[in-house]
């Protein structure tokens, strides 16, 4: 079944650690996105990719980085996590920019 997956679902780490949040989709979509969402707040776009080897920063400034080496895989990395990075991170994909985006279940990150 075509779907979008995120791992881990929950992560609690200490300050200064390097982490990678995984996102994979089996829908064959070229477009992929990362959003950040604090509890009860709007989703904010932090990174997007329109295809392999294409990545762009979103509207919300983020210290994270992303890569797109394979169509189905769009990992997000924090080199040195800080408490201010505590949030929910949502990955999404779409067939085209004009089409609806489909979201993964999210990763809830807590940095102590």
């Amino acid at each position: 079944e075509a779907d979008i997956y995120q791992t881990p679902r929950y992560l609690v780490i200490g300050t200064g650690k390097k982490i990678t949040l995984e996102c994979s989709q089996t829908m064959g979509h070229d477009k992929m996105y990362w959003y950040q969402q604090d509890p009860g707040m709007e989703l904010h776009l932090i990174h997007y990719s329109y295809g392999v080897n294409s990545t762009e920063k979103g509207d919300l400034s983020s210290e994270s980085t992303v890569s797109r080496i394979r169509t189905e895989h769009f990992p997000l990395t924090l080199e040195s996590a800080r408490p201010s990075h505590t949030s929910q991170y949502l990955c999404a994909s779409s067939e085209n920019t004009g089409h609806e985006q489909f979201f993964g279940p999210g990763t809830r990150l807590t940095v102590l």
Binding site: L43, G58, E100
Partner: protein, 109 residues
């Protein structure tokens, strides 16, 4: 700058009590308005896409409508399982989605 405002922020309904959620937007050249449902701790689930004023979409107890300045999500005879946060997003010329803050809906039996 594209802006999306949803109201009310929260809505408490009795089972069977129909109501409407509002999504007001300010964009340069609307290229799509999207409604999503989000349950606690989960990613948003796609509901509808509307592209032009006058367009309507329906799914079970939900009906979305669109005008030139706003969209409504009507919930008819809601059930407790309709409890969720409903998100509205717009896509303008920049191809990126701008989300509103959502409306938290609680339907009590």
């Amino acid at each position: 700058e594209d802006q999306v405002t949803q109201s009310p922020e929260a809505l408490r309904l009795q089972e069977g009590e129909s109501s409407s959620l509002n999504c007001s937007y300010t964009v340069s050249g609307l290229r799509g308005l999207f409604w999503y449902r989000q349950d606690p701790g989960k990613g948003p689930e796609f509901l509808f896409t509307l592209y032009s004023a006058g367009e309507e979409k329906e799914k079970e107890r939900l009906k979305a409508t669109l005008t030139k300045k706003e969209s409504f999500l009507h919930i008819t005879a809601p059930k407790p399982e309709d409890s969720a946060t409903y998100l509205c997003a717009v896509r303008a010329a920049g191809n990126k989605l701008t989300f509103g803050g959502g409306t938290r809906v609680l339907v009590k039996p």
